[in-house]
């Protein structure tokens, strides 16, 4: 890669630049700040779409009464049952159980507080769910999750 070809496609890095290694006119390596690259931006969006789709599925399952709100927070924090179990310090099967509405409703305040601490929200907000998928990043127009209520895409 030549130093004048280092891509400057700003998107996912926000105000930051990353360092790219490139060669100058004499063929010597120089460090060049890059605002990002189209190819990596694109696959990053793809990864977020997958996370968004998972959150959406979680919200639907909670809506239909087949899952507890924990499933939403788990998806929102990009966690699997195994990872959440490690963070909250419970066995996998207990976490799995808490993902069902009835065992969840009977959770002791102490356990609710532990879950809430992992998700970094106050315990009373565990049951507050957003009406639609919200991601910490903005997906570009035309992405399957853009304007999120386009159910036909998922």
């Amino acid at each position: 890669m030549r130093h004048d070809e280092v891509p400057q496609d700003a998107a996912i890095l926000e105000q930051w630049h990353e360092i790219a290694y490139a060669v100058d006119e004499d063929g010597s390596y120089v460090l060049v700040p890059s605002a990002g690259w189209e190819a990596s931006n694109l696959v990053n969006v793809q990864a977020w779409e997958a996370i968004g789709a998972q959150i959406k599925r979680a919200l639907e399952q909670i809506d239909s009464g087949s899952a507890s709100p924990l499933l939403y927070h788990m998806a929102r924090n990009q966690m699997s049952v195994g990872l959440l179990a490690r963070y909250v310090g419970l066995s996998r099967w207990r976490v799995k159980r808490h993902l069902k509405p009835i065992p969840y409703a009977g959770l002791k305040p102490e356990l609710r507080a532990r879950y809430a601490a992992v998700f970094q929200i106050p315990a009373e907000f565990l049951d507050t769910l957003p009406p639609q998928v919200e991601l910490p990043v903005e997906l570009p127009l035309g992405s399957p999750l853009d304007g999120i209520n386009k159910d036909e895409y998922l």
Partner: protein, 334 residues
Amino acid sequence: MTIEFIHRQSAHCESGVTANLLKHNGYSISEAMAFGIGGGLFFGYFPFIKINHLPLITFRGAPGSIFKKCASRLGVPVTSRQFRDPQRGMDALDASIAAGIPVGLQSGVYWLPYFPAALRFHFNAHNLVVYGREGDEYLISDPIIEKPVRCSSAVLERARYAKGALAPKGRMYSIGQVPGEIPLAAAIRAGIKEVATRMVKVPIPLIGVRGMRMLARHLQYWPDKFGDKQSIIHLGHLIRMQEEIGTGGGGFRFIYAAFLQEAAAVLELPRLEILAQEMTQIGDMWRRIALLGARRCKGRNSTDNTFPALAELMRECSLREEKLFRELLHVVKK
């Protein structure tokens, strides 16, 4: 308490931390040099190890090995510790800063608030340097980020005790007294030898150039095996592993070429300069795979970005890398 510490942004976190800590201790070394001596370059494809249902593909060695190997090859003493108890881990960090020793920390990116939101995934082998504390805030030199940043103690503790794959368990490390005589040339040779051996001599079909060929063989049939949607997700995953922040571009191939270029001057081996150019061209080819692949992910299909075409490019990369690393082995032996 603040330690005078020079923040230098780098492409890769671990080689950046290593170079910056060495420089702080009076031994000036470039990031590329730390990367090369530490034997940072690698290729591994492990289809049976899944991360989020996707195969493990890596262009780098095991986390922590660049720091450890670079320091040991240069004859620089290091200390590295883990703490089961987070409180003890944070106390040890404070003690080190109070003693004027900047500390490298392994941490989970997901919890670091200053990281760009789009890059906050559960990746636990990120490296940064803590060089001071003001009240409840730690002063951090994160080599991926342009400027020094700050982080509250609660947040930093969370990042140090991130859970899951590659959990840091509070790992912190620092560099001791740099000796007067540094065996730079021998360290460079050892670093090259290790990487080249791994790339072409290990009789396991999953790693090195043979791993690339296996990936190419599998990739070719992804659409048949997984269907359109899943094969695109697999392809996107490959590109992310190769190009997402921290590689310097082309799956670390450019930073390695920069290292070879520096090595040519130190070892007075002009042949290495030529091989650095070849490595650059190979890096460009990896970038081409990423660009064409990304276009396919976006649905911009053409004849040059079909899965077999991408596989063919990857095979070409593997053949050129095989030739290059065999020659490297020969060159550094002399």
